[in-house]
Symmetry: C2
Subunit: 224 residues, 2 copies
Amino acid sequence: MASSVPGSAPTRAPNPSPLLGRVSVASAPPTLAERKRRLVSEELRETALQLLAVRGYDETTVDDIVAAAGMSRRTFHRYYASKEDVVIQLLADLGDQMRDELTARPPAEPPAESLRHAVTVAIDFCAGHHDAAKTLAVVRLILRTPVLHARSLERQSRWQADLAAILAARLGLEAEAFYPEMATRLAFAALNTALERWAVSEGQVDPLELTEQAFAMLEPALRR
Amino acid sequence: MASSVPGSAPTRAPNPSPLLGRVSVASAPPTLAERKRRLVSEELRETALQLLAVRGYDETTVDDIVAAAGMSRRTFHRYYASKEDVVIQLLADLGDQMRDELTARPPAEPPAESLRHAVTVAIDFCAGHHDAAKTLAVVRLILRTPVLHARSLERQSRWQADLAAILAARLGLEAEAFYPEMATRLAFAALNTALERWAVSEGQVDPLELTEQAFAMLEPALRR
DNA sequence: GACTCTGTTGACACACTGTGCCACGGAGGG
DNA sequence: CCCTCCGTGGCACAGTGTGTCAACAGAGTC
């Protein structure tokens, strides 16, 4: 065990409260403890993002963050494995959402179309969000900070592998088939091109339009 | 200045020996000091790779490495910025080589062909090297170690941007044009697919063949 | 209310990393 | 011979991430 972790320290809670076995129940009423944890987590995250944006990533220490949030460094690390994690965890759900979207697409649909929809989930997550300005700031921070960029690319690499496996299954191919692997990689190439342009343009260009443009280019390669 | 760095600490020496101004001369006779530095650097690197391979990446500390190499931690950090760097620096020249290859391709050549040649440089670097077994071990180490994988992807991202700029210039487009960006990303998708399959197959599959297969798929998308 | 059980927190200690600084020592030039 | 240049190791220090422990708050039980 990784010492006494408050419910859901990293990525995702396998089971926040072992006694109350409400795991997969959709609308489980959140416990007080659970709401408290979420509150602390959010407080930490907001304080961190604030500081990182103002003072820069490298110039901000974990001690700065916890001091501003009025907590101890030990508590910080119970919620986030590292300073990078505060930022990267914001994208945590994205992989799941893309996976779900691809799974949900009709099996008869051409792969190019399904992948375009999966990628669009990510675009929507970033640009179509409640307040896109904040997401834009985060994406820009990631792209401009080498450590964060590296970690986000690595995470993408896992998503890509997941999507490839799903696509392979859909097409009735073995998991290591060539086409699903390449196809998903091309989809991420499109996604990254769109996202990066959206970010450097400060949100001026329409990422959805860029995505469609990219997939138009990919279409002949994705045809089977 | 980053304290007294022995000649060429990170990535590449801008000028190993400031007094002898022989920089761009191709076959400059290496100084004694320079050979000594190279020797220390190699000793450190070999010791590190040995330990990393045997004991695993996370289980090996920098102190372990320098103890085995009979040097101080301070000296280690004069040659390598971090433990990751020992591994990642092995690929340092690769970006330059790909850039050079792309630049050297005939301007009239179709972009797909030029990119395929650039990517092949990387494949040759890995698989066609003096002893491919060692390179294979390194590549496998990188792919299996999240931190290293992340850093190598980030590095690739820079190479991709470089290649895109070169391709744009070759095609007479502005640097931020859509086609060169997408085209280079697709090329790297092909490269990574081939490299990864080569690595997981323990060097059994032919990465060149895979590369050609990948570019065959990309060809219609890369056509202009 | 008292008691227990569970889970969160802060404090402390510790291992590891990366860097600035300084003093030592060898190599080479005056 | 002296003096400068440069690589090196030792030391100190800031920062990170983790194990451990005591304190404490909530919830449920009697």
